[in-house]
Symmetry: C2
Subunit: 359 residues, 2 copies
């Protein structure tokens, strides 16, 4: 039986990536050693990291004035590193709160400095992102922070919020490189790799180089972006294997035809599920049209018992990890870049049959 | 040709560990998926992490009042996390400075709070660790920090410094689990995994539970040890694959016969090299007898040109990564737990032959 893994992250990886990683694991080409035991300052490892960087730059058209950093600690570590580095003395920042991780980012940032909520959809259980009218952005803020896609609620910003000249900071952990991106709209982008980019253990950071001057000298080395940009992500031992997997996934994305192609595929996959939700009274989608996530499709059944039964029976059919996040319940189908269309089609068939029997 | 990898970290891993990791990479036993794409909250991954913890506890006899944490950012991230969490309001800490990483730990800690040097061997180019007479420990310090083994200079503390009732904090990145350890002597131990414990990307932290009360609530989540102890190392997505490799290495250490056995093997391997250094006028060991590292054997040849020639010719013979750290030069042979005795014997033969021709 084919297993389709709908986990929200770590999530499905492309099969060719796994096979190549397996082939190389004991002996990395040109070295006679495993990548796991090679010095991060050796030529093959340095070459692997540089190649990952070049491919990322090519894939997303990243301008020359942006650094590409491979850090550790996931998006959660960036929740405090961003304000530590980007808040100026006496400065303040605006956060847009659209879900659980947006809220955690806010809480950590408020521990670091003067950070306020410039828009929130908490009062409507985050069924969409704020409208322009609902945002009160301070033109003197040091930056605006938003979360591009909200995995738990299944919403996604259809486009970046308009923030004028204030640097935009995006947590794009759950939708990065799922469609074309204009990086020049951002001051900083960060993304844990384990959803659209690879395995856990590495965070991709894209940083406009003029912002590096803000980091105070009083920061400990590992918490200062300058340490990592100067050290080319190898100030200390980086998470070599996770960077390697990220590099293989980026190469795979290029081989697929790039971000325009991924956008079309992701649109297509999500539409299959949203069409099914719309065609049914039995299933109710959580996110409002216009702000629906192409990555995480969240929905409810008539009651929690049916939702539990749905997840259990789906698992038996090889459709695994469909239970919604413990904080909101319901069903969640995570269908990132590497998730195959056949898996979505199989889920739609299962949904129809489940409704026929239990509806 | 057999390659013997003398890199200081990431370093040689046990061949059975690499083969098992390769076998499981595409399909983890019992899941039908790769470990790289499985949710960190899934049963197989949770079970893998728990099993790694149990094996670590068994291997090193870790008392019940110590937490075992798997963190990110390497030892370098601990350089600031330790003072952030363990310094009390108005409190101070003592650092013992015995090499490069000890010095980096000091610099970061001094950015966080009132941290002073209670002993240093910088004036003698760190050819040994301080004697008891050379240490001025404050009995009211919040903790004493030391570095168990100094990879660059090739020195090692033969036993923990005597610190009375002050909690002892040890950076044991380069000699952890290379011999039996009495964890109860420590308040906190941290170790990047990529030398004696596995691959890069995970840091093992052993923490006495009474010290958790010191962490201030003002710390961002990821920088607070309480977050990770409450979350059982899965507050956010942990570096799953690196923890898995660490677990396999710990299992391998148990299979080898445990820490007494490793101590004997490591002693034996190091003795081969130190005996050769003593028998020769051509090679000069850097570390003084009594404080010599069993993990990193550092030595010089009559001049830098011969050292460069030595490293180059050794590489041709499959003895790779012998060049000393860029900050001190010379030759360094790193021979951690997983480094095979045959590799040391081959190096000794090479040294004899090189001296015969060039001496």
């Amino acid at each position: 039986m084919t297993i389709y893994n709908f986990a929200a992250g770590p999530a499905t990886l492309p099969a060719p990536v796994l096979l190549e990683a397996q082939k190389d694991l004991v002996s990395f080409p040109g070295s006679g050693m495993s990548l796991l035991e090679m010095s991060h300052r050796s030529k093959p490892v340095q070459g692997m990291i540089e190649s990952a960087e070049e491919n990322i730059r090519a894939l997303a058209g990243i301008p020359d004035n942006y650094h590409i950093l491979f850090l550790q600690g996931g998006a959660s570590a960036q929740f405090s590193m961003v304000p530590m580095n980007l808040l100026t003395p006496g400065g303040k920042a605006d956060h847009l709160v659209t879900g659980n991780f947006a809220n955690l980012a806010l809480q950590d940032a408020q521990k670091v400095g003067d950070v306020r909520v410039a828009g929130s959809t908490a009062d409507r259980n985050h069924d969409r992102v704020p409208t322009p009218d609902e945002m009160t952005l301070d033109p003197d803020a040091d930056y605006v922070h938003f979360t591009g896609n909200n995995t738990i609620y299944g919403t996604e910003w259809p486009a970046e919020p308009e923030v004028g000249n204030v640097p935009l900071v995006g947590d794009l952990s759950s939708n990065i490189f799922s469609k074309p991106i204009d990086v020049s709209k951002y001051g900083l982008i960060y993304a844990g790799a384990q959803k659209n980019l690879g395995a856990a253990g590495v965070t991709l950071v894209l940083l406009r180089n003029d912002l590096l001057t803000r980091s105070p000298d009083t920061l400990p080395a590992m918490l200062n972006y300058n340490t990592h940009s100067k050290g080319h992500s190898a100030y200390n031992t980086p998470p070599v294997f996770s960077i390697y997997i990220l590099g293989l996934v980026v190469k795979w994305l290029l081989d697929q035809g790039g971000l325009e192609k991924m956008a079309a595929q992701n649109e297509d996959k999500a539409k299959l599920l949203y069409d099914q939700l719309e065609a049914s009274e039995f299933y109710r989608g959580h996110a409002l049209q216009g702000n629906r996530s192409r990555m995480n499709v969240t929905f409810n059944l008539p009651n929690p018992e049916l939702e539990a039964q749905f997840a259990t029976e789906a698992t038996v059919e090889g459709l695994v990890e469909l239970k919604g996040h413990r904080s909101v319940g319901g069903i969640r189908a995570s269908i990132y870049n590497a998730f195959p269309k056949e898996g979505v089609e199989t889920l739609v068939s299962f949904m129809k049959e489940f409704e026929r029997i239990n509806g």
